[in-house]
């Protein structure tokens, strides 16, 4: 890692001190509550000592159990120092909300839409939060509740009749 850890801790610590650290195979993740995400991201991007100017991806994890069921994950890259960082944001509740970072990185727009489509996490302040892959009215035909396919409680083969198929051609229907 080209950027020393201490420097990242120093920059993040200047905004929010009680951040968590998780390190695995020399890859650093920092854990931040959702209400401080905007400030920390803005500092990491604008401070010339870190300069994380590129947002690679946003995704989420569904842990199914525990106090914080969902966790959004942000993958950052610094073009100046050729260095990577991961930010994790634990969220509570079954239909959580998380602040949007579209005002900091433009590329977050589609990533957040995708995460919303797959997990049902609402990003506050997103300019166009609609479904990304699935049809916009993708819902359980029986209960009418919206379906989020990458959640852990989603059945593998999906909910029957939630996605329509074209009918069989009439001419050949007797075969």
């Amino acid at each position: 890692m080209a950027l020393p850890k201490e420097k990242i801790f120093e920059v993040v610590g200047s905004v929010y001190e009680n951040f968590g650290i998780y390190e695995h195979r020399n890859q650093l993740s920092i854990i931040i509550p959702p209400d401080r995400l905007q400030e920390v991201c803005l500092t990491l991007k604008d401070n010339p000592e870190t300069s994380f100017d590129m947002l690679i991806d946003i995704t989420a994890i569904d842990w199914l159990k525990g106090e914080n069921r969902f966790e959004t994950v942000y993958f950052l890259y610094s073009n100046k120092y050729k260095s990577r960082l991961r930010i994790k944001v634990p969220l509570s509740g079954d239909y959580p909300t998380c602040p949007s970072v579209t005002n900091i990185w433009e590329s977050a727009n589609w990533y957040e839409r995708e995460t919303y489509d797959m997990y049902g996490i609402k990003f506050e302040g997103h300019p166009n939060l609609r479904r990304f892959y699935m049809p916009e009215d993708y819902a359980d035909p029986e209960t009418g509740e919206p379906i989020y396919p990458l959640r852990k409680d989603f059945p593998l083969m999906g909910i029957p009749d939630s996605l329509p198929l074209p009918p069989y051609p009439e001419k050949y229907s007797e075969n």
Binding site: P155, G158, L165, P167, P169
Partner: protein, 178 residues
Amino acid sequence: MGLDKVIEKQGFITTSIEAILKWAQKNSVWPMPLGISCCGIEMMAFASSRFDVARFGSEVFRMTPRQSDLLLVAGTVTYKMAWVVRKIYDQMPDPKWVVSMGVCASTGGMFRSYSVVQGIDKFLPVDAYISGCPPRPEAVIKALMTIQEKIKKQHKPDIFNFGKDISKTPKQENIDIF
């Protein structure tokens, strides 16, 4: 076949119109390439010089469904794509045949998931299935030969209705993707 020698000797041959139409159709099956995932690469190999599908009269890959006879569904068909496949199928003039190429199109294959159609025979009449992930070009040639055999044995050419019967695409009610 030695047809030239027969003509040289006698000057003419006798046959029925149906037989000669079938013979012509069998040897000019023009495929509509619908390469919607990695099977498309094998489909290109099937068309190009090493395997040379021109030997079977199918070298003309028509890039429009309106000029083709055989729909080669090569790849994973998702629920979103199913409507597009059906639209292309409907635009093809009769008579038409469908080949389901590879396990993804035939059964869903390794994509046992909510978004992939588990076999295109749920919404299309399929004439030949090809196994393999992706299948070898020889397997595609075998499927083409199966279609030719089917034309020879089962098909009844309708002389007066070529290309007239184009069915209409059903309207998609629940989702609007176009």
